[in-house]
Symmetry: C2
Subunit: 293 residues, 2 copies
């Protein structure tokens, strides 16, 4: 089974359980709307790719970790789109959750997806009691305080946002880092060898997002552009200029490749990283060619 | 140490970790504002009381479970108070989180508290690998889909809310049930002997809440009254009348007392239940005297 089908099957399986009767039907619909058809699934794809590179020791636990990470990512998008944040009507080419179901159900669906992420880990973690506590903590760290997604988003409410790197690490890097470390844990690798790689991926992703926001076309990327300027948000494009941001992105992807440790599936993982960097700006770029396998 | 200090110490300990640097300071303040000084802590008090009645086998894990349950309860209140739900300015006699910190930080703080609840369980659960998966699932079931708090709240967005009992079980009973079962699990009891008790407590609590909302005084209960009528929400007072609701409340507390199984600390737990029923309507009531110890 290819990785995308594996991820979507795991997501469908846990959503089916969480939205079964007696779940209120519209809440269940809102939860599914937040998760399917889904975007590129970058984070769970990396989780699976790293677990595979390490030997794929516990595939069912890897699937649960990948699904949990994507559920948390999808929840974060539901909140990002709310009227009090980006007030976005379109995401992934369809109505955002609050636009389709109302703000109340969007908030509840986001809550339910966060809970479901941890419930999914608990369900799959029973046969792996030595791995479960660490896996939970790695993933919680990627989304909670003091330095996960909510902390990153929280910096936008501070008057003093003086450290763009710290902001990006929390808002985007932390969940990529969690995806990598979770993949190493469930794949049978040594998580300590994999630290830092996810932060570089997340930083690259955030910069690509800034570039797409500054000069992408909404019909290609499935959401409105120009939002960073509208909301006066920090952006690598504003800070470094377009060409500076693009060069920095290429550097980060190269450095990420350099951090992949020796492991059985290293070449496959570098190939995955190369394909990912091509997808980042939605067109093949010179950046992709610069990654040595 | 009395139970209230034990609960507040556990809450402070996990909040300190989640809001340490590099957490954005205002996000940390919003999280603490949601949890302290706190209300009656009914759910974690029951968790500790049941664990104690069962023998208090794993006190640190009980503390973590009690804290996790209270964090989830506090998060649910943050969301309940938001403009798109109750639009409440006052809670527990102070400004609600969104009134004090803005809607963005209220939503982020709620998210962070949910994540922190599961992180707290993961941290304390390491030495108890045989208990952790079940404990996580019990608590997740109390808040997520298909029948936890978010499902209960979700029924308010359905056009067809024909089952008031199901609505109450999810919105309020599910987290009381989780608190009881979690206490049995971490205290060394048999969780199967304790099923159903929490649902009765939750139902009693919800009916007391409806009664307070219908005829309480805002300066005594720390929040506005009359909200059920304003929002046209289901209420036992509307359905059964004030005296009918009060009789039903007494019946539920009696039935709850009858469900406490044989255990070393049964009498202490019944005494706890008696004190709780007195607190429910904030004054001693004939209901309290009806519980036989």
């Amino acid at each position: 089974m290819d990785s995308r089908r594996r991820i979507d099957r795991a997501l469908k399986s846990c959503l089916d359980q969480a939205t079964a009767l007696p779940c209120p039907p519209r809440l269940g619909d809102a939860m599914r709307h937040a998760v399917f058809p889904g975007g590129a699934r970058f984070r769970p794809e990396f989780c699976l790719a790293v677990a595979g590179a390490c030997g794929d020791a516990h595939p069912a636990l890897t699937d649960a970790a990948a699904a949990a990470i994507e559920l948390l990512h999808c929840a974060s998008l539901v909140y990002d789109d709310l009227p009090c944040f980006d007030d976005a009507a379109v995401r992934r080419g369809q109505a955002t959750v609050h636009a389709a179901f109302g703000e109340e159900l969007a908030i509840l669906a986001g809550n339910a997806l966060i809970v479901l992420a941890f419930e999914t880990l608990a369900r799959a973690g029973g046969p792996h009691p030595h791995l479960l506590p660490g896996l939970l903590r790695v993933i919680a760290r990627g989304v909670g305080g003091p330095s996960g997604i909510v902390a990153g988003q929280g910096w936008e409410s501070e008057s003093d946002l003086d450290d763009l790197g710290r902001y990006h690490r929390a808002k985007t890097g932390a969940l990529f880092e969690a995806a990598i470390i979770a993949g190493a844990l469930t794949g049978g690798g040594d998580p300590l060898q994999w630290t830092g790689l996810g932060y570089r991926l997340g930083e690259a992703y955030q910069i690509a997002d800034d570039i797409r926001d500054a000069c992408g076309r909404p019909e290609l990327i499935g959401k409105p552009v120009g939002q960073d300027r509208v909301h006066d948000r920090p952006s690598a494009v504003h800070e470094l200029g377009l060409s500076g941001a693009t060069i920095h992105l290429g550097d980060l992807v190269e450095k990420a490749a350099g951090r992949v440790p020796a492991c059985a599936g290293r070449n496959d993982l570098l190939a995955h990283l190369r394909r990912w960097s091509e997808q980042l700006l939605a067109v093949p770029t010179p950046i992709a060619a610069s990654i040595r396998s």
